[in-house]
Amino acid sequence: MASVGGSSKDTLTLNLYPMLDIFSILICFLLMSFSSDPVSHDVDAGVELPESSTIVALDEVPTIVVTKTEIRVNDKKVADIQAGDVPEKERTQGAIYPVFDELKKLADATKRLSKNIRTDDPNAKGSTGALTMEMDKGHRFKLMKRIMLSAQQAEFVQFKLMVQKELH
């Protein structure tokens, strides 16, 4: 009696070559787009960066992250953002006190550490260095100015403002 599946001599082979082709193409694409930047950082989900044609790569993880709803310093939430600004109780002379407070601690620690480094540059000793900031593109300069003022009071005067590199 003949079986439903046909003759038992027939062998089925799965053709794996198309899958291999897809894998090869995918690997080529991933290797080509593999980031060679010194720091690989995933942009916060609540932040949309503005586009820029800069070629200067990000070289450190951002210290200040300004999402649509909050300000974080070293991943610690320090202030809320309501209607594009911080609440009045947290402002002092145009600056944001909790941001200043957190950055002051950071500046003191950085200065202590940089005093002990061996370098030919006399300005590098005891300096606070640059502050990297990741900010949503929809925020107004008013908020950026408040954060910069807070940082200025904590002796940070150089900023690296994160942007999204334009695709060419």
Partner: protein
């Protein structure tokens, strides 16, 4: 006399290449690359803010007349102002609309200004409070970054790191940007 050719018959065996280890490696590599891939390329714009210092300005005699450049940014307009620190100040203003076309013209103007004053590599940017970061970053792009049609200006003479200064000269039109409006009330 006939000579019979003796034919050797070669028996080919079916050889199958085992591609399973190959697929395994590809799968592992794919997984690793997909997990570690960063599809958004992030860059930075370096700026500084004014600060008060007790130290005297280096090599800046009181009677020197220095060229200075500032850029005023509002929601609708970007204005370039050029002047000198000592009289006659020769203040000149060049307004441009704050849109992509206007920013192209702004860059062209700044490039012309830099050609005439190659030693001045600093621009002070003043921004209104209601300008959003997206618009401001586009203006900073136009002010800071060199495009292919711009000439390469000589690097800063007294730079501590000469390699960095040379790279900056190739990358930037104005490498030093000061956010002038960041001052305490």
């Amino acid at each position: 006399m006939s000579r019979k050719k003796k034919r050797h018959r070669i028996d080919y065996k079916e050889i199958e290449l085992n591609i399973m280890p190959f697929i395994d490696i590809f799968s592992m590599l794919n997984t690793f690359l997909l997990f570690t891939a960063v599809f958004l390329s992030v860059g930075v714009l370096e700026v500084q803010i004014p600060f008060l210092s007790n130290s005297p300005p280096p090599d800046d005699p009181k009677d020197s007349r220095v060229f200075q450049l500032s850029v005023d940014v509002t929601k609708d307009q970007v204005e370039v102002q050029t002047s000198y620190t000592r009289p006659p100040e020769q203040l000149q203003k060049f307004p441009f609309p704050n849109n992509p076309e206007g920013r192209k013209l702004l860059h062209q103007k700044l490039s012309d200004v830099r050609k005439k004053n190659a030693d001045t590599d600093k621009a002070t940017v003043y921004s209104d409070d209601d300008v959003n970061w997206e618009s401001l970053s586009a203006v900073l792009d136009s002010v800071m970054l060199r495009i292919e049609s711009d000439p390469v200006f000589p690097p800063v003479k007294d730079a501590k790191n000469k390699d960095r200064a040379e790279l900056d000269a190739k990358t930037f039109l104005y490498p030093k940007i000061v956010m002038g409006s960041v001052m305490l009330k």
